[in-house]
Symmetry: C2
């Protein structure tokens, strides 16, 4: 028996949609939707220590499957050689699975996945956001940042300000409920523009950018503020001035979903999914049939997708 899957035949090459051995029938669940993430490209290039696989293997780290009783279940990192870009997946050996509430579109649940969980856990477990606190989100136009803006709002944050890559992108966090949006294009003037938007400073900086953006952003870190370091879309290195954060007691708290146990990640996902089911968090999704996986992969590499790319199977349409 075999099922259709996006198969990596050789490290570094793009996946090919073809027949792949069916998971053992007692484990198998139908995949409804599978989200594409930058990490998938790194896995495919053999760059991720926790998922360095020998080809052939099925691409895709996360997705939502339908159980035999009709309920949906989110899954992350199925047991190799299986992956989420397939018609069927074994759930038993997956690193983590979590319930998807009945009221939530499983395609949206898949789209929230890793990036939504990063927004949720970084604001709550790592950042300790408390209602009424003011929040600055660096990279508010990216996948994690978009969810973070909505969650900050849902958690009762005071002022929510987004930093985005350019002037056009300012509309993205503003449409999601941010009070202000600032472009980081002219990085030399960034500190001043932020001071204008947050004259009394902020309590929490959610940093998805690092690079040349994080340093100027410290200008609006209030006494005892926290900087939660989640990503570095602006570059891996940043130059930081020690007195600028030390004398105000500003902490740098690292965040990676993988610093949390599978149980904590599952609990975080279920809380996030419940919020999404209540309409507190939305994700713009572009649905691509599984057969289009190679092209979707190419668009992900090129950074050409504006919305979250989610592969869907015929299981999701009936």
């Amino acid at each position: 028996m075999s099922v259709l899957a996006a198969v990596v035949r050789e490290l570094g090459s793009e996946p090919v949609v073809e027949e792949f051995a069916d998971p053992a029938p007692e484990d198998a669940a139908d995949v409804v939707a599978a989200a594409l993430n930058p990490v998938d490209v790194a896995v495919l290039n053999g760059q991720i220590p926790f998922r360095r696989l020998a080809p052939p293997f099925v691409a895709g780290l996360e997705g939502v499957a339908r159980l035999r009783d009709g309920r949906h279940r989110y899954f992350f990192a199925p047991e190799p050689p299986f992956g989420s870009f397939a018609e069927s997946v074994p759930l038993a050996g997956a690193e983590m699975t979590a319930a998807v509430p009945a009221g939530l579109d499983p395609v949206v649940a898949a789209a929230l996945g890793v990036s939504g969980l990063a927004a949720h856990l970084s604001l709550t477990a790592t950042g300790g956001l408390v209602a009424g606190e003011d929040v600055l989100i660096l990279g508010a136009d990216g996948q994690v940042g978009r969810v973070a803006v909505q969650l900050a709002r849902a958690f009762g944050a005071g002022r929510v300000i987004g930093v985005v890559r350019d002037g056009d992108s300012r509309r993205v966090p503003l449409a999601l409920g941010a009070d202000a949006a600032v472009s980081s294009t002219d990085v030399d003037g960034l500190a001043e523009r932020l001071r204008a938007e947050a004259p009394d400073g902020v309590d929490l900086i959610l940093d998805l950018v690092w690079g040349p953006v994080v340093g100027p952003s410290l200008a609006v870190a209030r006494q005892n503020a926290r900087v939660v370091q989640v990503g570095n879309s602006g570059g891996p290195d940043a130059t930081l001035n020690a007195p600028s954060f030390r004398n105000r007691g500003v902490r740098f708290l690292p965040h990676s979903n993988f610093l949390f146990s599978p149980e904590d990640r599952a609990a975080g996902f279920e809380e996030l999914a419940a919020r999404a089911a209540r309409g507190e968090v939305e994700v713009e999704v572009e649905r691509v049939p599984l057969a289009g996986a190679p092209e979707a992969h190419r668009r992900l590499v090129a950074g050409a997708a504006k919305r979250k790319l989610v592969l869907t199977t015929t299981s999701g349409t009936d």
Copy 2:
């Protein structure tokens, strides 16, 4: 009435030892010893926001005075225009005072002062050091670092490793109980030298240096390690690689004594002084008579003092 004091007549000029108005007799206590610190130079240049004084004023932020009952009391930041570089000081308006145990030389108590307190509070309150943890101290040959090496030992740390400015300085932390000392002269090879001394990594990095030293030191930060940022003798700016600390969950915790209340600082000082009285912490002191304040100030500015400079009065000799 007047007493001898090191008086600043003009911002930016060195203090002059001359007669100065005596504090009101009901407040006055005899100064026994007063430590010189880099912050004194900054105060004298009008660069410290919390102590921007109009000349003439008495130089010196901290010292130990003898009360009328013969007991000694450490004091910090007497009410302006008074300072610690004088024969007499009013204690009533000081920002903070703390008890000096009977068994401790008041000159050593003065020498511990701000820098000893920085070592104590940064390891305990900020760093949360727990017995058995391995500690790396960047700047282990400086005043704060020397006390920190001894305190880490006294707190039951596992391996204690010091990073120092050059090969000659390696002997400083080694003589104080460090297990290993590494020179930072060749900063390109620093990460490798540290890995050789701490192949399993460390739990806590006490950073008194920042600049080009802190980045390579992250190579030995263990999963969930803490970096306590206390000072920047190596320069105010450092370039940090985000994935190198984020993926291992390494936190950056800022430390300044002034992030703590006067009460917490007094409690910390008294705990430190008790350890010094028990011989767990020693400070090498160079005693300079109050009349030598201008020359001592010159040596501090030039960085020419190997030991902690402490001004003494005739009150300390009887």
